[in-house]
């Protein structure tokens, strides 16, 4: 067998790939579902925290800043491991899926809060004053005047951060979530051939290359004016 044939046999083995394709496809949809859940709950929680922070209640804000700093400083895998392996001794046993979801939600929420808050601060004070002078209350001003402008400012940094964190779904493989990477790794050990990993990498590329390209486009489209 020539080197090239050997390479193809090893990394692009059609027989092995055909056998494990259905599992990779299962993993693909699980990854998409998990990522969608994380994005939805993480962004919602982050926005909620930023809104609470804008009421400027001192002790509450200290708590928010501490939590945000905490989940920006901790590696996501450490948070996942802490939830999945750390909680069972106190009688809580979240599944790998739930652990990954909760952990990455907290991490995304921390980053999103920081970005939303920067956006809220970036809206000029005059906007607040003008809105309040028309008779709107604080909450109304925040909701109808400040947030729409703030959110627009935050789209580019938020998009990139969200993409980076949703790629963390691969970390779920460490806690037995049957997403793409763990399906592929299982395939490698069953078949003694790395082609399932090639397939897994291709699945990730199919999922994330459009997302990364979208991030690039968003960055130029909504560029922060410096």
């Amino acid at each position: 067998m020539s080197n090239w044939d050997n390479f193809i046999f090893t990394f692009f083995n059609a027989r092995v790939m055909a056998e494990y394709l259905p599992r990779i496809i299962d993993g693909f949809f699980l990854t998409v579902g998990l990522a969608a859940l994380i994005v939805a709950s993480g962004l919602a929680l982050g926005l909620a925290l930023a809104v609470i922070r804008s009421f400027r209640i001192r002790p509450v804000n200290w708590l928010i800043v501490f939590l945000v700093d905490l989940f920006r400083a901790l590696p996501p895998l450490v948070v996942i491991v802490l939830i999945y392996f750390g909680l069972p001794p106190v009688g809580l046993a979240p599944s790998g899926f739930v652990s990954t979801w909760v952990a990455l939600t907290l991490v995304l929420a921390a980053f999103a809060e920081e970005i939303f808050w920067a956006g809220i601060l970036a809206v000029p004070r005059g906007q607040w004053e003008a809105a309040r002078s028309t008779g709107m209350g604080f909450a109304q001003t925040l909701l109808w005047v400040v947030l729409p402008q703030a959110v627009r400012l935050t789209i580019p940094p938020l998009t990139n951060r969200t993409i980076a964190i949703t790629k963390g779904t691969a970390l779920g493989s460490v806690v037995a979530v049957a997403e793409i990477l763990s399906q592929a790794s299982a395939g490698v050990s069953f078949s003694s051939n790395p082609s399932p990993l090639t397939l897994g990498a291709i699945a990730y590329l199919i999922l994330f290359v459009p997302v990364v390209a979208f991030g690039r486009w968003v960055e130029t489209r909504f560029a922060w004016r410096r």
């Binding site: 990394f11 590696p75 790629k167 051939n193 790395p194 590329l205």
Partner: protein
Amino acid sequence: MELFVATFLNLEVMRAASPILLQGLLITLQLIAVAVPLGLLGGVLLALLSTARSRWVRWPLIVWVDLFRALPPLVLLVFIYAGLPFAGLDISAFGAVAIGFFLNTSSYYGEIFRAGIESIPRGQMEAARSTGLSKIQAMAWVILPQAARNVLPDLVSNTLEVVKLTSIASVVALPELLYQARQAQSVTYNSSPIVAAAAIYFVLLWPVVRLLSRLEHRAVARR
């Protein structure tokens, strides 16, 4: 409450685990010392290449960078560590981590430096060249320092991500901080070692996070 303290904040377990946690921390610091300079160097090279006029350089470069930005780092790492031995290349865990991190982080650093270089007006290059500096000298002494300063918050932020990323090396059994904490946790069936590891990461990285918050808010305030 007692159960909570005994499970998560058990000082005795933490003390017993502290030697191997420190060993793990040492490996983590070594990983950082390898991954960050390599990534920065690769990033500068990628950014310099992306200033090339020829589209035969620029297009493959965009594909390369997007490829490694799209692949989750853990996938890349597992592919290198579990896949390459099948091709007859036996690779140590540390080697696999170094290669994987290089490919991943240099792509991110590269994008940041590219944005930095693009933020410097063309006139700077022309002025530097007119004083007799060669193209390389002008790049190294005039353009790059200004570019790096313009994207400093992004550089710090990415470095923070790289440091945090070293925890995935535990997956390929490299005995860094998280791996050692997991070992200690499974031996004692007590979560305190993982809490201790988390505390170490937090103490190590909190100053960086604070610094970043200030840099970011200053950037917002300046607009």
